[in-house]
């Protein structure tokens, strides 16, 4: 099916998220939509999927204009969407998930057999090897994604939209996905592939449309050079390398030994994790999301109570300390999800800067909050960290991702640090802020503080790390130097033994 978007415009208040975007996806073609976070790719796809209504412009399927009031209409018209965050019910089987929403029934009774048959039929056609009776929660991420694809295909999707599909995959799983995409395209399905990763676009796309600030800035063939694509995407030459001198590791500061953690059902989250970080050194943990990195940082910060093993900072045992004690021991913590764990969106910038210091210290005066100190501190932090805002009384929820992250960083770096733990320090952060945040982290290292970075972006790990630890299934499978080749790191991240 041929999909055409014609002059789609979508506004949110004064912000124009999509500005007269036009796009033609030919049948059997893989059309990559390339752009930075916040460029308007997802908005465009939500318009296509009927989640948003376009303010102007029209959608044509096989040259006939269509209107979608909701995802139901879009699906009925043959558009399938695989969201970045899977829309699957973990405790249901594959077949149950696939049939959800259009359950086959006979005499009002669910027809599970026909659902199973359907799953098998589709997965055989593309060599997916999916067991219809497996519970989704037991499947690896890559397989869950294939379930999403089967779900879309089972509804006769002729146009398949994949929104950042590789964000959760290992390099190897990514390769498999690309094979699948090609197969689907050869079978006549049109594919819209949304991503910000240049390498993947070049590997699989037939046509590339680059979007920046809500506008189409150009179409390009995949043979175009990476540099050109990147400059189209960001509007300037990108430089992700951080200017940093060689590390001067000093005394051993953080020693983690045999750290093990189980969840309530007894599943292993951390499996005998051991590593050390010296003063003035950055250890970056690489790995695909969900391989224990989150739990590792949470265990260090004291959010898990039932850890086994030892976490020692300058000899002080922290594995069973409360969060309060860990913070008091001089640990700065940038949580992975700043909106969930790092900030209170409805608080002002000034209030967020004192979140962890409301009990005693300069932010308090007797039983009261020391409002004057708080506001002066905030004004200074805003200046130092270049937070783009109207002032300390602005609600944090109104800031952009990058500025929110700067608030978190300003708070955590303003204490006397003996260790900095930063998880996904630049996730969802604009390019300008990324450079700034990276520079600050390196500055912390250079002041002699040990730094632990967790990142699922290999580029970030490579840019910051003095040493790289790779995590897979809750284990640290290797600690390597940052000049290890990408391919080798990819293998390690996928759990391929040495």
């Amino acid at each position: 099916m041929k999909l055409e978007l014609r002059d789609i415009t979508k506004r949110f208040g004064s912000l124009v998220a999509n500005d007269r975007i036009s796009l033609v996806v030919e049948p059997g073609q893989i059309h990559a939509l390339l752009g930075e976070n916040g460029a308007g790719k997802s908005t465009l796809m939500n318009v296509l999927f009927g989640l948003y209504q376009a303010d102007e412009g029209e959608i044509l399927l096989d040259d006939k204009p269509v209107r979608f009031a909701g995802p139901g209409d879009a699906m009925a018209a043959g558009i399938g969407m695989v969201h970045q965050h899977f829309m699957l019910i973990p405790v249901f089987t594959v077949a149950e998930n696939v049939m959800l929403g259009h359950e086959p029934a006979r005499f009002g009774i669910l027809d599970m057999d026909s659902a199973r048959r359907r799953v098998r039929e589709i997965s055989d056609r593309f060599g997916f090897d999916i067991d219809p009776d497996a519970l989704v929660e037991d499947l690896p991420v890559g397989a869950q994604q294939r379930v999403e694809i089967v779900k879309a295909l089972s509804r006769e999707a002729k146009v398949l939209v994949l929104d950042e599909p590789t964000a959760v995959l290992t390099p190897q799983e990514t390769d498999e996905l690309m094979v699948t995409m090609r197969q689907l395209a050869d079978a006549g399905t049109s594919i819209v592939f949304i991503t910000h990763k240049l390498r993947e676009v070049k590997a699989v796309a037939d046509v590339i449309t680059v979007i920046r600030l809500g506008k189409v800035v150009g179409d390009a063939p995949p043979t175009d050079s990476t540099e050109h694509l990147a400059s189209l995407m960001v509007g300037r030459t990108v430089d992700l390398t951080v200017a940093k001198g060689p590390a001067k590791p000093g005394e051993l500061a953080l020693v983690v030994k045999n750290l093990t953690l189980f969840d309530q059902s007894g599943r292993t989250l951390l499996d005998d994790v051991s590593f050390e970080i010296a003063e003035g050194e950055i250890l970056a943990v690489a790995g695909v999301q969900g391989n224990g990195q989150t739990e590792l940082t949470e265990a260090i910060i004291g959010l898990h109570h039932r850890v086994h093993g030892s976490i020692a900072l300058y000899g002080e045992e922290l594995s069973h300390a409360s969060v309060r004690d860990v913070l008091d021991a001089g640990v700065g913590y940038v949580p992975e999800d700043r909106q969930e764990d790092g900030l209170v969106a409805e608080f002002t910038i000034a209030e967020n800067l004192m979140l962890d210091r409301s009990v005693s210290g300069p932010f308090t005066s007797g039983l009261n909050v020391n409002v004057r100190y708080r506001d002066e501190f905030a004004a200074a932090a805003i200046r130092e960290f270049d937070v783009r805002t109207q002032g300390p009384a602005t609600l944090v929820g109104q800031l952009s991702g990058g500025n929110q992250q700067k608030v978190v960083l300003a708070r955590e770096l303003s204490r006397d640090l003996k260790l900095l733990v930063a998880a996904q320090p630049t996730r969802g952060v604009d390019v300008g802020s990324i450079e700034f945040i990276h520079e600050r982290i390196v500055a912390v290292r250079d002041s002699g503080v040990p730094v632990l970075i967790i990142s699922t972006e290999l580029d970030e790990v490579l840019a910051l790390a003095d040493r790289i630890a790779v995590m897979y299934h809750g284990r640290i499978v290797a600690i390597v130097s940052p000049d290890t080749p990408r391919e080798r790191l990819g293998q390690l991240m996928a759990g391929v033994a040495a």
Partner: protein, 413 residues
């Protein structure tokens, strides 16, 4: 996260609560308009003159509209006379009496409303006002007639007893939630039942009951030394309890808006995960919040138990425990708002008898009160009726502020 906007925002329970609690004045005003409009319909169609005129509606429709207008005007005029100023009275003293009565009724509503409001701000839903108020009332009552202390001291001791009783009862909830994860809504509702039964039982035993005064469950009247003194002389019933409620408003304001403890309470209410990550023991805050809530509700119990010279029965709560939820919602859980909402509900309570004299069923007032709450608690409903009201602001709205930054980036290019 801003990395993906494909997920539609799910309204979390706390967000819904926030939407309700953050009531914009304009929306609240229109909630009133709607409630009073619906109330007049009830007044009209329960009024005999109006119903009579309906019998010959098609012959003389003006009669119907005249009667309807008359009934509504009479009823709301009676409401005014009953709650604020009785312009028909022969002396200023009795003309102003309704206002003092409104204030007297408002005292416990304000105090209990503050208690419930506090838990809202911490993200808890305390439905246990009834039980806490009862426990506060009987603790205070017990001290008021079982202890015999000098003037001044006796009152203070009795008030403190009331605080302890209610705070203890509320503290159980916080403790169970922190220790076992039990949901506060269920626990508070159950504790309401327990409190009512417990108090009724004790009011048949010598602990609270004068065994010579019949079998109905009642308390012994408080000693004169433990009664809240009347503040406008013997002709008015308004007592010190109202002043204490006003002081509670100031304390609540200071606690929530200025103190470091209030900062932590609000933090836990808005984002418990961030609070935990900032080193705050959220469970301790839950217990503290319930105890503090109990202290405020306890003041309402003290008002009820000591603001009288006679005995009382288990119905002493007279709906305040639940009305307090309404007052807290209506007041947006803020000190000033709760004060105003408490005054309004006090006035409504005071207006009841006067409206009854105008042949308005007292239930109509309850319906109007309930409708106000209904409209307040359903912001989307009011917004759907009055379409010009603004949508609630999304706390995670990044896009509008991102733009200048993006433009700047473009300039750099």
């Amino acid at each position: 996260m801003s990395t993906t906007t494909t997920e539609r925002p799910r309204p979390r329970a706390s967000q819904v609560l926030r939407d309700i609690a953050s009531g914009s004045p304009l929306r609240i005003f229109f909630s009133f308009v709607l409630a009073f409009a619906a109330g007049s319909l009830l007044i009209i169609f329960t009024n005999e003159a109006v119903l009579d005129s309906l019998g010959y509606f098609f012959a003389r429709p003006t009669d119907f509209f005249g009667a309807a207008g008359q009934a509504t005007a009479d009823a709301y005029a009676a409401m005014f006379r009953g709650s604020i100023y009785n312009y028909r009275a022969d002396s200023f003293e009795s003309a102003i009496r309704p206002l003092t009565e409104s204030l007297r009724f408002a005292g416990p509503l304000i105090a209990a409303g503050l208690g419930i409001a506090l838990t809202f701000r911490v993200g808890l839903f305390n439905i246990g006002g009834t039980g806490q108020l009862l426990m506060g009332a009987i603790f205070a009552a017990w001290a008021s007639f079982q202890l015999h202390l000098p003037y001044g001291l006796h009152l203070i001791v009795a008030i403190l007893f009331g605080f302890v009783g209610a705070a203890f009862w509320a503290g159980i909830v916080g403790f169970l939630k922190a220790r076992t994860g039990a949901h506060e809504v269920i626990v508070t509702i159950m504790l309401n039942y327990i409190a009512v039964s417990l108090v009724t039982y004790l009011m048949r035993t010598p602990v609270l009951h004068d065994m010579d005064s019949g079998n109905n469950p009642t308390t012994i009247p408080p000693d004169v030394t433990a009664q809240l003194p009347k503040i406008l002389g013997e002709n008015f019933n308004l007592h010190l309890g109202f002043i204490l409620a006003l002081i509670a408003v100031v304390v609540y304001w200071w606690l929530m808006e200025r103190s470091t403890l209030g900062f932590r309470l609000r933090m836990v209410g808005l984002n418990p995960d961030a609070a935990r990550t900032a080193g705050i023991n959220v469970n301790v805050v839950f217990v503290l919040a319930m105890v503090l809530s109990g202290l405020f509700v306890g003041l309402a119990g003290v008002n009820q138990a000591l603001g009288r010279s006679g005995s009382f029965s288990p119905s002493i709560d007279s709906g305040i425990g639940f009305d307090a939820i309404t007052v807290a919602l209506l007041g947006g859980s803020r000190a000033g708002g709760v004060l105003l909402a408490g005054l309004l509900f006090g006035a409504m309570k005071a207006a009841g008898p006067a409206m009854q004299l105008e042949d308005v069923a007292p239930e109509v007032l309850s319906v109007v009160q309930a409708l106000i709450v209904l409209f307040i608690a359903a912001p989307p409903l009011v917004r759907a009726i009055f379409r010009f009201l603004p949508e609630p602001r999304e706390p995670e709205q990044l896009t509008t502020q991102q733009k200048p930054e993006l433009e700047k980036k473009e300039l750099e290019a």
